[in-house]
Symmetry: C2
C-alpha cells in the first residue's frame, strides 16, 4: 500500500497540520522566513505528525488538542535536519538544496535554533506537564545521539549494538514519542499509550535501518540525495558493519573507507557501494528491519479494533518496503 493511500484517509487533518506548520514558522525576519519555508516546502513524509494523529484516534480525538503536539514534533524534527546537514556537509535533501548549501553553515545553525524555538512556543500551549517532560528528555537523548554519530564517524570497529543504541537516540525515540504523545494528548488509557510508544519505537528503528539501506541501494531520484552520502560523511551504517564482519570483504572495505576518508573520490564511493551490495550486509540489515516491524505490528494486537489500527499496520509495512 502506498503512503499516499493511507494518508488520504486523514487528508483534511494532515492538511490542517501543514497549514499550522506554515503559520508557526512565520516571522518578520526575511532570511528566517525564507530558510524555514524552503525547508517546509521541500516536504517530507510527515510521519511524526501522522503518528500523532493516528495515535490520537485511540483516545478522545480532538484535532485542536493534537495539532500542537503534531506541529511541535515535526518542527523539532525539521530543526534537527538542518543541524544534521551542517554536520554532514549535506548539499541536497529531499531533492532540494539544503539550507547549509543554499545559504551557509551559520545561517543553517540559527535556522535550526529558530525552528526549534518556534517548536517550543507551540509546546508551551500544551497544558499537560508530562508532555513537556517527555519532550525535553527526548531532545537531550537526541543530542547525545548526534554527538555519538560524530564520535563514531569512520569508526570501523563499532558493533551492531553500538549502531542500534545510536539510531535509537537519533531516530527511534522521536517517532516513539510521536505515538506516545498523540495518545497522551487524547487521554488514551495508560496501557494504550505504552503500547503505542513501543509500536513507534520499533517502527522508528526499522525506519532508520531502511534509510541506511536506501543510501546504499536507492537511486538519487528515489532518495533525493546522492547514494553513498553516509560513507562520504563517515557514517558507518548497519549493512556496512555486517559486511565488515565478512572475512573476504574486510580488507578491501577498510582500504576503500580509508581512501574515501581522504579524498571523497566518487569512484571509490561507487566501488564501496558495489562491494556492500555484493555482501550479505543488505540482506541482514533488511532482516533486522523486518524483525522490528514484526515487533511493532505485534504491539498492535493489544490495541482495540478500530480501523486506525489497520492504517498503522499499513504504515509499518510501508516503512519496510519503502523506496524513498
Amino acid at each position: 500500500m502506498k503512503l499516499i493511500d493511507i494518508y488520504s484517509r486523514y487528508k483534511k487533518d494532515i492538511q490542517y497540520i501543514e497549514s499550522e506548520l506554515e503559520r508557526n514558522i512565520q516571522s518578520n525576519h526575511d532570511v528566517l522566513n525564507e530558510t524555514s519555508l524552503h525547508l517546509l516546502k521541500a516536504g517530507g513524509k510527515r510521519i511524526r505528525p501522522v503518528f500523532v494523529l493516528l495515535s490520537g484516534k485511540f483516545g478522545n480525538y480532538h484535532l485542536e488538542n493534537l495539532k500542537n503536539v503534531a506541529a511541535a514534533l515535526e518542527l523539532i524534527h525539521m530543526a534537527t535536519l538542518v543541524h544534521d546537514d551542517v554536520i554532514d556537509n549535506a548539499i541536497t535533501r529531499r531533492g532540494e538544496q539544503t539550507v547549509m548549501a543554499k545559504w551557509d553553515n551559520k545561517i543553517a545553525m540559527y535556522t535550526g535554533d529558530y525552528i526549534f524555538a518556534k517548536a517550543l512556543t507551540v509546546v508551551t500551549q500544551l497544558e499537560n506537564p508530562k508532555i513537556h517532560q517527555i519532550l525535553s528528555k527526548s531532545i537531550v537523548q537526541m543530542c547525545i545521539g548526534e554527538m555519538e554519530q560524530i564520535r563514531d564517524f569512520f569508526n570501523t570497529e563499532q558493533s551492531v549494538r553500538n549502531y542500534l543504541l545510536r539510531i535509537r537516540r537519533k531516530t527511534a525515540l522521536l517517532i516513539a514519542i510521536s505515538c506516545q504523545l498523540g495518545a497522551l494528548a487524547a487521554e488514551a488509557p495508560r496501557n494504550t499509550v505504552r503500547t503505542l510508544y513501543s509500536f513507534g519505537y520499533n517502527v522508528g528503528m526499522a525506519f532508520q535501518i531502511t534509510d541506511d539501506v536506501l543510501d546504499l541501494c536507492g537511486t538519487e531520484k528515489q532518495i533525493g540525495k546522492p547514494p553513498g552520502s553516509d560513507i562520504k560523511q563517515g557514517n558507518i551504517t548497519l549493512p556496512m558493519i555486517y559486511a565488515l564482519q565478512e572475512k573476504d570483504l574486510k580488507e578491501p572495505l577498510l582500504a576503500l573507507i580509508n581512501k574515501i576518508k581522504q579524498t571523497e573520490d566518487q569512484s571509490d564511493v561507487n566501488q564501496f557501494i558495489q562491494l556492500i551490495r555484493s555482501s550479505g550486509g543488505i540482506d541482514k540489515a533488511e532482516i533486522l528491519a523486518n524483525r522490528y516491524i514484526h515487533k511493532a505490528t505485534k504491539q498492535l494486537d493489544q490495541l482495540p479494533d478500530i480501523k486506525t489500527k489497520k492504517h498503522l499496520h499499513d504504515i509499518a509495512n510501508f516503512v519496510l518496503s519503502r523506496k524513498y
Copy 2:
C-alpha cells in the same frame, strides 16, 4: 562597589545554583561532559541567575522554587554563547579557549543544542505555564536577534535604532526575563513583576552597550578576549555607529573597515580602535548606557524598601563602571 562584594551577601545560594548547573549538564557522553564543563568552569558573571534570586526576594523567597529558573536561564545563556562563538569564529572567551576553538564548529553546535536541551529539562520541572510561554517566546526573539546580527555584519549604514533593536533581542530580553521570572516564581505581586522586568531590560541594554565599549577600550586581560573582536567579525557596535556619523572620520573609518573585512590585519584593527577612541563615539555610547541605568534605577523607586533593592542598585551601577 565590586560585584564580588554584592554577590557575597548571597554566596550560599549562588554556590547552590552553581552546583545545580554542574549537576544539570552531566551526561554519560564524554565529549559533551567535557565541552559543557569546560564552558561552565570558564565562569562568567552569572548575572542572570543572580537577578533571578534577587528578584525572588520581592516575593516568597524559596530557593528550591527559584533554583530551576536560575539554572535554566544560565544554561540558555551558555548555549547561546557556544553558538555565538561559532558565528563569530571566536577563539577565546573569558580568557579560555572557546568550544569551537578547542574542539570544532560541529561539536560546538551540538554542545549548544545539548546545553539548551538540558535547560529545557530543567524548565519542565517548573509548574507555572506562564514561565514556559515567556521563555519560549524570548528564545524565538533571541534567535531573530542573532540572525539580525549576521544580516548586519559589516553594514556601515545601520542606524542607532537598528542597533538598539538588535541588542534588545540579543541581550536585554534574557536579562529582563531573569528578573521577571524570578519574581513570578516567587509569586511577587503583578506590579512588582512588571517593574523588575523593566529594571532588567534597562540594565540589559546598558550591559550590552558597555560590553561593546569594552571591546574597543578594554585590555585583553580585562575582557578575556582580544580587543577589536567585534569589528573583526563585522559587528558594527554603537560607538562605531556614532563615530561613523562624524564627517572627518567617516571616510577613513570606512576604508579601514573595508580593509579589515578583506584581510583581518591586526594593524588595521588597532588603527581602527584608535580612531574610534579618538572620536566622540565612546562618550556618546557611555552617555546612552548611563541613561539606561538611570531608567533602571528609577524603576527601583517603585519597589518596596528591602535591602535587596540596594543590591540591585549596586549591580546596576557595576554594569556601568565595569571593566570586565
